[in-house]
């Protein structure tokens, strides 16, 4: 007993958190005064916003704000309960779910109150311990957390490399033949994103569908960036590639990009979606979406349906700036020509990630001082499975005029010249 007392006396724990240096790049946030719209005031300077994911410019749309105001007058701000316990409001939540299902032409949709929680709760609801998930290397952090929570076997395949994926599927097939009983109850899933946040390119969906039927794997598609961007009417990558939406088992997206609201949704067939109403953790154990945000999303959806030409306009602007940013010495453009979220990476790294980050910060500061608000893409360096290289994020919105796009491109060129040479 004496020994035990001594051991307890001697034991010293680590401090709860290690100290963070004062000039850690992530510690000093940019302070935005006022709304983060097209013209944004960052750290006191007025700039043009090339950093917020406000693709369709709906953040300060009057109609959207009025719809949210009406909902605020009727319901107040919070819902004071989860969906199961008096937190389901008929003309916001149920209406939004119906509208989303109709817009995406699926049977049912389910809403979450936080974008990150959407895919992070959807994956563990279906995939459990012992199931197999094939996921792209460049998948975003929310998907990684969903996979971690599901405790399934994760198999990463090289980014957009269908041959690598097929190799893994074939390996799994041979494994199955050794143990057919186990194979009959092991579920398999492929998780891909429509438009990847980390690399700005699209997944080859037609090939994935072929692989799906050949190897009997279900597909979960994460469309946060491509919803409201790709396709004739903004329905996402399934419309872009003209694929039957029923071929995708689950589409998940967040409403924080094109719809300029908060929250996320999943849509698909009732057979798949209804399960989440009892086993989606972020749905059952969390308060429902505040009504004013849901009303804003409904109005944004209305605007999307009434003006299908904004998608073409957005794509035109993306192509323009993509062309304009080519050929900058020292920086290369990463992303498809029609992707509204591009990355600018250093052509040659200067040795360490820390120095790269510092160099890019100087480019960003140069641009901010001259009136273009940019930001570096932020990652948790120790937690990511496949950490992307440091980059500057350039976001194109429908509100930016051609002069502004050209100005941004020339400014970035200038910044690169002065900082990198």
């Amino acid at each position: 007993l004496q020994e035990k007392e001594e051991l307890i006396e001697e034991w010293q724990p680590e401090p709860l958190v290690p100290p963070v240096s004062k000039d850690h790049p992530a510690l000093n946030y940019n302070i935005v005064s006022g709304p983060p719209t097209h013209k944004i005031t960052v750290n006191g300077k007025e700039c043009i916003n090339f950093a917020s994911f406000n693709f369709l410019g709906l953040l300060d749309n009057e109609k959207v704000k009025n719809a949210a105001q009406a909902s605020l007058k009727k319901y107040g701000v919070g819902t004071c309960g989860p969906r199961g316990f008096y937190g389901t409001f008929v003309d916001v939540h149920l209406e939004l779910e119906e509208r989303l299902a109709k817009f995406m032409r699926t049977e049912e949709a389910i809403i979450y109150s936080y974008g990150f929680a959407t895919i992070a709760s959807a994956i563990p609801a279906y995939s459990k311990r012992g199931d197999i998930v094939f996921v792209d290397e460049a998948a975003c952090f929310a998907i990684q957390k969903g996979l971690q929570a599901s405790r399934s076997n994760i198999k990463l395949f090289k980014h957009n490399d269908m041959a690598d994926l097929e190799r893994l599927l074939k390996e799994q097939e041979t494994e199955d033949q050794k143990n057919p009983r186990k194979a009959r109850v092991t579920r398999r899933f492929i998780v891909v994103e429509g438009l990847y946040m980390n690399t700005g390119d699209v997944c080859p969906l037609p090939e994935l569908i072929k692989l799906k039927y050949k190897y009997k794997v279900r597909i979960f598609l994460e469309e946060s960036l491509s919803f409201g961007v790709l396709g004739e009417h903004g329905r996402g990558i399934t419309e872009h590639f003209r694929i039957n939406i029923d071929d995708i088992d689950l589409i998940s997206a967040n409403m924080e990009n094109s719809l300029a609201s908060i929250g996320g949704f999943c849509c698909g067939r009732s057979f798949v979606i209804d399960h989440q109403r009892l086993s989606g953790q972020g749905y059952c154990f969390s308060a429902s979406l505040p009504p004013l945000l849901a009303a804003a999303a409904i109005e944004a959806l209305n605007i999307m349906e009434d003006n299908p030409d904004i998608f073409q306009t957005l794509q035109g602007k993306c192509k323009r700036i993509h062309r304009a940013l080519q050929g900058i010495s020292g920086l290369k453009v990463v992303g498809e020509s029609f992707s509204p979220a591009l990355h600018l990476q250093l052509e040659e790294s200067c040795g360490s990630r820390e120095n790269d980050v510092k160099l890019l910060k100087r480019v960003v500061d140069y641009c901010m001082n001259s009136g273009i608000a940019l930001t570096q893409a932020r990652y948790l360096e120790k937690e990511e499975k496949c950490l992307p290289p440091p980059s500057i994020r350039v976001v194109i919105t429908v509100e930016q005029t051609e002069q502004e796009l050209d100005k941004a491109a020339s400014l970035i060129k200038e910044a690169a010249q002065s900082v990198l040479n």
Partner: protein, 518 residues
């Protein structure tokens, strides 16, 4: 006999908590009830399989019939055969502010709850005993709503960026300073979702090689955060300090399993008020243990912030303790502030660390501006800074309502769990049939209640849970109590024999360890 704990002066006022034992007859009947339902379930499944009964479930696509089935049959057994029958007690559609009284859309089912249709009628003025509206801030008029409307027209509804990129508005900075002042801590940080606050910040604080001691009845968000962190998890019995002390001693003396190396840090996860039991954490004892064994305390005040304490500062103020003793104070804004989101408060080093390494700051959107404004206005009101005593009155009204309501229910003879001062009041139902019956009978009498069964509670301990609010006047409570009395007689729910088991006699046996695999 009530057992009142003083524990050597750690408690400044009596800590009055009781969990009456389940009567033996009731337990047996409950098991019988579940047995009958299970048999019927098997029978119905058999009939559905042989197509004698129509199958109402959604089914898999024709093209994917030869895929591995998405759900195993037995996983959904409970869902199909038990939950479906009483499904109308949940997901009730509302069409007004969730205040003290609420309007509900009436719905009927012609096929035993498989599908619902709206009759078109709106049931008005249902007494709302289910929404988490402790201080009555769920309003669509008043100062809070006007401030939120102004901010909405200026800032818009969304933010479209993460905190570390372009989503840090001046409003967020204002909010965080206010929260720090409200709680009495050095610094605070706000997040967009209460659930996500736990599941994204616990992994940032602890990792492999650390130990998490978590209460038996912790919320799903705490459990998920603990699992995602990769630390070893050990569970101690609900609110049981001997169990916690034993685990702490063993952990320090024996070290990590297999390698015997000392633990890097020990984190204790507790909640302020447990929402299913209505119990309040024994905070003075937990803090004494924490100091003795040099571990860290993470307090989740989702239900207790605003609801406990003479000025609504939560469970720390309720016990008269120093907020600096709690290392991580976490809470949500959904319940007492009528908004959405969560916060973490603590020392400046902690918050600086979280600003840099929290998953939410890097990858998730920040709070929406009108929601932030609602929190700011309601918090100022509770603190009395808006120039009125409205906030203080609400806190006092809630405390009075709690004591009155609990006393009257106990007098009527129901079994009520939990602490005398907790505004969450669970009323035991036990039998599966009574779950559905209670919900429906109360709705007929225009009172909306929340009933919970398995898997949120142990299988025989299903209950109805009342959430009191400062917005409930004495008349509303009296009406509700009268109806509950009637329904209690109708359904024979008055099980209490006034034989309250003294708290320390609750059998304490060897704790079980639950460890995560590597």
């Amino acid at each position: 006999i009530h057992h009142i704990v003083h524990n050597g002066g750690l408690y400044k006022k009596p800590f009055n908590e009781a969990f009456e034992e389940t009567p033996m007859l009731v337990a047996v009947l409950t098991y019988v009830g579940y047995g009958v339902l299970t048999l019927f379930g098997y029978l119905r499944d058999f009939l559905r399989q042989w197509k004698i009964e129509k199958c109402q479930n959604a089914t898999e696509r024709e093209e994917q019939k030869d895929f591995v089935p998405l759900y195993q049959d037995f996983e959904n057994f409970y869902n199909r055969n038990l939950y479906m029958r009483i499904r109308d007690s949940w997901n009730r559609p509302i069409c007004s502010v969730p205040g003290a009284k609420v309007d509900m859309m009436e719905r009927v089912s012609h096929d035993y709850n498989w599908t619902f249709t709206y009759t078109g009628r709106v049931i008005k003025d249902i007494i709302n005993m289910g929404s988490y509206n402790y201080l009555g801030f769920a309003q669509n008029t008043g100062a809070c709503q006007e401030a939120a409307a102004k901010v909405l027209s200026q800032y818009g509804a969304g933010v479209c960026s993460t905190r570390q990129e372009m989503g840090n508005l001046d409003k967020h900075e204002e909010l965080e300073k206010l929260i720090a002042r409200f709680l009495g801590v050095e610094s605070a940080m706000a997040y967009g979702m209460g659930f996500a606050t736990n599941s994204m910040n616990i992994p940032a604080l602890v990792g492999k090689g650390c130990l998490i001691l978590s209460d038996e009845l912790n919320h799903a968000s705490l459990v998920l955060g603990a699992r995602l962190s990769g630390a070893t998890i050990r569970i101690f019995k609900h609110n049981n300090m001997q169990s916690l002390e034993k685990l702490l001693k063993d952990a320090i003396v024996h070290g990590q399993p297999r390698t015997r190396r000392p633990w890097k840090k020990i984190l204790i996860l507790v909640e302020g008020i447990y929402s299913m039991e209505g119990s309040i954490v024994r905070l003075p004892e937990v803090i004494a243990l924490k100091k003795k064994y040099k571990s860290y305390l993470y307090l989740d005040e989702a239900h207790s912030i605003g609801a406990l304490g003479p000025s609504g500062r939560g469970v720390v103020e309720y016990f008269g303790l120093n907020p600096e003793d709690v290392d991580v104070m976490m809470g949500t804004f959904t319940k007492s502030f009528g908004a959405a989101g969560g916060y973490i408060g603590g020392k400046k080093e902690l918050i600086d660390y979280l600003r840099t390494y929290s998953h939410s700051a890097v990858y998730a959107t920040s709070l929406s501006p009108p929601v932030v404004e609602q929190i700011i206005t309601s918090m100022k009101c509770i603190m009395g800074e808006d120039g009125t005593t409205f906030g203080k009155e609400c806190v006092q009204q809630l405390a009075e309502n709690t004591r009155y309501f609990r006393r009257r229910l106990k007098e009527m003879g129901f079994i009520i769990y939990g602490n005398e001062d907790s505004p969450v009041v669970p009323l035991m139902l036990y039998m599966p049939a009574k779950i559905g019956a209670f919900g429906r009978e109360m709705l007929k009498r225009n009172i909306g209640v929340v009933v919970v069964g398995f898997p949120a509670t142990p299988i025989i301990e299903s209950r109805a849970r009342f959430c009191l609010s400062a917005a409930h006047t004495k008349e509303i409570l009296d009406t509700a109590l009268k109806e509950i009395n009637e329904v209690g007689d109708l359904l024979q729910l008055k099980y209490s024999r006034h034989r309250l088991v003294p708290l320390l006699d609750r059998p304490f046996d060897e704790t079980t360890y639950e460890e995560t695999e590597d």
